[in-house]
Symmetry: D2
Subunit: 339 residues, 4 copies
């Protein structure tokens, strides 16, 4: 089969790098273009030395005509929010399918977007068509989607960790606590004081308490599942490691449950989902490093449900799930290039 | 003034090392003895090279007669639990005051000890006299104590973070969540697979969910403050850093509060306590590294109180507070050697 | 094509884990058996949770008859030295080809083995037949080898970094300095104090100065290339990171060279070797993390040649090169499963 | 005794922070002023939260008249090179003694400065008077110095590690190799890509090979000792840890030596120097963390001398030795505040 020509928009960050490492193993993909605003069209290996000898592509300015002319059928958007909704419509208008790793098309309600991101949404037309690309919940809509809003790293842990309980209406829908610990790569590749090595190494801290932008994304998906508003208290923490998210979630059962009933809810909900691993002991983020798996552990403690979810923020949290979505969109086995 | 001769019991672990670093700066202390079961009475600098050139003491087997003969007035117990209650009565019987860093004398109810530590308590007599050495709550009892049960590392963060709210009866006394992240030194110095570098580096994980032994210790102190039972859900996490504990605590107010009222409760409660720093932004564990400070931040989020507490698990969490207790016991300024 | 059934001997360590991650991506391999002395034949995923959902094999005691009966054609030895030469002859006698990741068959001279490993060699017969599995130097002998002595992690950096200069007889053959920095996984998975997290984290140290066992292995290969004795001073350092080796090498040119002549020697020597990347700036170990590449940089400094070599000690340094050898032995493209 | 009022010039970086931690323990020092170009005269604790509750000083713009009026007798310069020689003469002209932690006054020859720092020296007058503040070598000149050029972090390891051999003329004075590994704080507090956490964590790399600015500083001191030119090849490496430098040094004896003769040279040279610890096993940087000690180990290997030197780059490498110099300048015990 002829490989599918794809483009990466915004090649200099960590999600683009991760995406390239995955796509280079995909038997049915050809990296046709990697765009960047960097001057001088550098080879991708000059920006990401780990790709030397593996990917001989020069970065180029975004030129939609050129992408169309070269047959690009799918573009992965690795642009910052704001820049995504400014650029992607041009590609979509020309028939290129898009998987957007930014936050621009995740929140269906543009007012919620404006409230949390501080600027109004500029592309209501495609926003209305976007499919939230969390395969375990919205898998049926993905094959026919023109535009996928690839889910956020933290939100996937919160949504997947709570989905069985919310779907079964087994917990209270307020007061849910999501205490998340993320590696530093989640903050992106632009140097700043908070991610300067001697500042964040050997230290853990909470940030954006009660105001992190992933909060409404988690609530939107859980509200979809519940059929009524679900409210979470989300506390992210910056953890001294390159990659990985561990979310420890606390919820209050509506009715009493046994441990076996609780485990049963999870087994049933995630049956046949190849990237969810239900664990009998609490997972470590190292167990899922560089993998597309989401590891979930549940336990009853003094009348609360405690759920621990581990994910690699760059693989499953961004670029891995993007390829999982790509596989569903183009008819490949969901696991291609991901095991 | 003649320095006070002290002994360290069990010199080979991290709390003993930290204690020595602090006590070597104490103008009124002389390290008279460091005991150990290690063969060959090695110099302390052979076991802890950072002490070379600073502390010329050989480790010796514990011999109470010798300690008494040499005038030792205070012993710091750095022995494992179980070993503490087997050894310390011999010293106490001879008039040596003891600050025990193990867990043996922290839980007043021997049944609770037996339940959580899996063995029955063997020294009910001294248990009944022990003072729980958290200076901010039990400070008045410390000067006259013969035996101090030095508080645990995790418990201090939970107790101090919640104390103003519990004392004011401002929160529900059930469903309190303490989500704690600790550096690896908290696991001690004995090598095991979970603390083997390539296992725990670049990884975070929860452990002992719902069954960590520090749970009843937290509850005992909070119950003292409340005058009625307080129940917590405590989840410790192993975090890839040498030192530091960050506890993120979630509680439900009994009545509505403004942010200013909340802050006022904390200011009032901790007024004149030199080692508590109320922060206007969330602390990082690095802010308290190698220090005896406890940094506390509070915020209201969607009807919950979120409290973040940072502490160095070896300094404030163990050896620093031990010296703070020592200073109170022997009439020194509480801050001596700790700033 | 029918996949080739292979066995992993000694499945509980890091090289076995790395090997499994690579082999699971190999289109022509089936993991038939993983042996271990662990009790209870655990699933491999119980020992290495990252393999859960990817590899459903139970660990089993080594039983050669069973391996033969099940058609195993190649065994990867991940046993400690000593144990390797005690076990592998049984497989070799039955026609199973072996890639031994231990040091047992690397040193051709059993006296040198005895001198550096402190015990006499017990299998002189197969020692005489073993091929040193460094594909860039001994590639022609690998396809027909029955027994491959897979090269050590440090030695590959030293040998490959110096090979062009030694082959060209362009440097003095004494006084060569190899200053190597390795991640902690190189020390294996058995917990000990030196690799206990709080001991080696945030610290770097030299060890086994002048007496590391990889010294004669480096010298043997360089002596092969030179046709006369080559002597190195090798200083390994334990570096606070999971993986990676960086070797900084210093050699004295026999005759003056320009930078261009120096670079030319390296380009020519490594032409057409797919896993050697000659770099124009000094590499970081992160550039080769989880890859089979060896990155090499050379520079003239005040009359010395300074060479910097980066390698992932578990991938290229052990399990990756083992698969590279496997590919050559069984007629696959050398790069299969390694890009 | 009245404490000596001191000023810190340039308070926002890591050396200023370290200096404050040390000086706050100095019984005879009062922090009178901390200058900064930061807007708004923030409290020092806002810039360095670890100082909250310990140091209540607002940062202020540099105003020499004000410093003189307030009786400042000594200023510690924590400014970047270039800025130092632009500012310090103003203070020196007014009689304030200066310990300059920048590189501006370290190289006696202004041509060498121009060659390595790329700009001409602007203060030849004070350059001629500056004393190089390495107490072990230039200790006699320090008490009367008006201006101390505080030594660089890397140079101290190279100079002290080689001093006994150079002074005894026991090694060749060319071809000396200094392979140094430094923690990331050595790169300062300004965020950049190379010190962005996900770039340098879990990775080690060499940089500025053959052209690091500390090279001539090392050579100047060793040449002083030798009485003839000494030439070194210096390779610094960025190591994934906050603090610490380990330098592994290779030199060629001029004449054969026994291990005991070698050790004797070091014992004799460093006799009575309180901050040099001669080690019988190779030191780890953790052994000297947060301390002013320099740990040195020597060994003969195949005709070379291998020297390993460990230092904390912020304490002994910068702010600790600055206080050691201060103590000598003002007549205090050299160790005050440093043990």
């Amino acid at each position: 089969m002829t490989p599918i020509p794809v483009a990466i928009l915004g090649g200099s960050g960590y999600t683009a790098l991760e995406l390239l490492h995955i796509l280079l193993r995909h038997p049915s993909v050809r990296i046709e273009a990697i765009t960047s605003r960097q001057e001088g069209t550098p080879w991708i290996g000059e920006v990401h030395p780990s790709l030397l000898g593996r990917c001989s592509v020069r970065m180029e300015p975004l030129n939609v005509d050129s992408l169309v002319a070269r047959g690009v059928r799918c573009a992965f958007g690795c642009l910052p929010h704001g820049a995504s909704m400014a650029s992607l419509p041009m590609l979509l208008n020309r028939g290129i399918r898009v998987i957007d790793l930014s936050a621009d098309y995740r929140l269906r309600d543009p007012n919620v977007y404006a409230q949390w991101y501080g600027e109004s949404h500029e592309d209501l037309a495609y926003l209305a068509q976007a499919v939230y690309g969390l395969p375990e919940l919205y898998g049926d809509e993905i094959p026919n989607a023109q535009l996928i809003a690839n889910p956020g790293c933290y939100p996937q842990t919160g949504i997947l960790g709570l989905a069985p309980l919310v779907a079964a209406r087994a917990i209270e829908f307020t007061g849910i606590i999501i205490d998340s610990k993320s590696g530093v790569s989640g903050a992106g590749r632009t140097p700043k004081l908070t991610t300067h090595y001697p500042e964040c190494n050997e230290s853990i801290s909470a940030y954006n308490i009660g105001k992190h932008r992933h909060t409404p994304e988690i609530e939107q998906a859980l509200t979809d599942l519940a059929g009524e508003p679900v409210e979470v208290i989300f506390t992210p923490h910056l953890t001294p490691m390159d990659r990985g998210i561990l979310s420890t979630i606390y919820a209050t059962p509506k009715r009493s449950m046994t441990a076996e009933q609780l485990a049963g809810l999870y087994r049933e909900f995630f049956a046949k989902m190849p990237f969810i691993r239900l664990r009998s002991t609490p997972p470590a983020t190292k167990d899922v490093m560089h993998s597309n798996f989401v590891d979930i552990y549940v336990q009853l403690v003094r009348g609360k449900v405690v759920i621990v979810v581990a994910e690699d923020n760059l693989t499953r949290g961004a670029s891995g799930v993007a390829v999982q979505n790509f596989n569903r969109m183009f008819g490949f086995d969901e696991r291609t290039a991901l095991l």
